[in-house]
Symmetry: none
Subunit: 231 residues, 2 copies
DNA sequence: GGAAATCTTAATGAATCGTTAAAAACAAAT
DNA sequence: ATTTGTTTTTAACGATTCATTAAGATTTCC
């Protein structure tokens, strides 16, 4: 099997070369472009498996490049390298369709780990295509495709789109922390005072639905997010 | 298992050689660089497990070298050797991401002890890439992601963010000194009279939580920091 | 003994969250 | 186009959680 091909777009020459060497040693074919425009040209002339883009670059920044890449290819994994851990940047990245992002400086082993994780995720996702849409939550049963929440033999509750997405997300993180920010970005596509308030309203609605089973509850972790507890 | 690899950067030739020999005898592979620039080159060409850097060196001092190292690798443990025990230096070191520091002259056995303690601390966590968030503390169990402290079958105690961060940090330094300044910089992001007082308040809170197990205690080491003792 | 460091409790004010209700936006059907 | 019903957002207010500061007591170090 031939090596996976990486497009690395990074304007800092030193850092770029070190990173390229490191990835080459880790058995990837690396093409190193020095700015966004060069990156776009390389992208169009080759067939890469994954893109690693610096955010801040002359001529064309990483986000803008990502948008252009997405016009050609909706699936290719993109990892952003952001110098600062600005929330602005992270949000923007997710909107452009980032698969992951890393704050510089970072441990190169973490990058390697993320690359492999993403490549694996994509390939297995391709095999199975469909994602999970049925969840057991205590004595409740959620079918997120039909947007129905069932309890015993009772008539199922019909969920609105947002209720459904939120409960599904809580269920995929069952018994674990679902970070508030993540839900806002993925479901509300924005993270501000009002979307956050809106989310609280939906949490209240879900709690009302779920209160028939006393074993099930949604608890808040102050400043962090919510946790759906169910045996 | 192969020996752990140490990058030792020390400009004093006599001291450097003695230290290198001592560490080699203690079953480490030691690369000895004579100044900061040489150290950086060695760092980029090899794969070390830990760095020991003298602070005062010609061409490139230890702090500057540490910053460069951190650009490539955010996790690798760094120990500083400082001639004077200036608080300025210690703070600067921690801000650059030091794991520990030693005042010259020092007992080489102390250095050895610290190296092993740090490697142990890092290795268990680093295997999994993502950081550790579960800790056993005597009969207590801390889940720092969920911010809860459990004791036997009792209802877990919910920890506030600061309580959680502080206890987590104490736990990673379990049975060892957690330097006061380090906690202040990493958790409070500042080191002054008030943050220090605030930390004391949190130590008091944690002691209250932990007093159910008489085998567990947080002791103060006057002028140095705290030590979480647990079997 | 005296200065510096630490311990502990309590008070304050800010940020976050919970809940209800009303307003606005949206969609489907008349 | 207007009506009707659903969904989502905004508003308002109370409740809870949280970090900091103050202040006095106690301990440690020289």
């Amino acid at each position: 099997m031939s090596n996976k091909k990486i497009l690395l777009v990074e304007d800092d020459p030193n850092f770029g070369i070190v990173l390229k060497d490191y990835l080459t040693l880790s058995k990837f074919d690396v093409t190193h472009a020095k700015d966004g425009l060069e990156g776009l040209i390389e992208f169009k002339n080759n067939d890469f498996d994954i893109c690693i883009l610096d955010v801040m670059m002359p001529r064309k920044d990483g986000f803008s490049l990502a948008e252009d890449i997405r016009k050609t290819n909706k699936e290719i994994p993109i990892i952003f390298l952001t110098a600062k851990s600005m929330k602005e940047d992270i949000l923007k990245g997710y909107k452009v369709g980032a698969d992951d992002y890393l704050n510089k400086p970072f441990d190169s082993e973490v990058l390697l780990y993320k690359i492999n994780a993403i490549l694996q995720r994509k390939s297995s996702a391709m095999d199975a295509i469909e994602e999970q849409f049925e969840f057991q939550i205590g004595r409740f049963f959620l079918n997120s495709k039909l947007r129905q929440l069932s309890f015993d033999k009772q008539e199922p509750i019909k969920l609105s789109p947002k209720e459904n997405k939120l409960l599904k997300m809580l269920a995929t993180y069952k018994n674990d922390l679902m970070p508030r920010e993540l839900a806002l970005i993925k479901i509300w596509r924005d993270d501000n005072y009002f979307t956050s308030r809106s989310m609280d309203v939906y949490i209240a609605k879900l709690r009302k639905y779920l209160k028939e089973d006393s074993e099930v509850e949604i608890i808040n972790i102050h400043g962090e997010g919510f946790r759906l507890i169910a045996k």
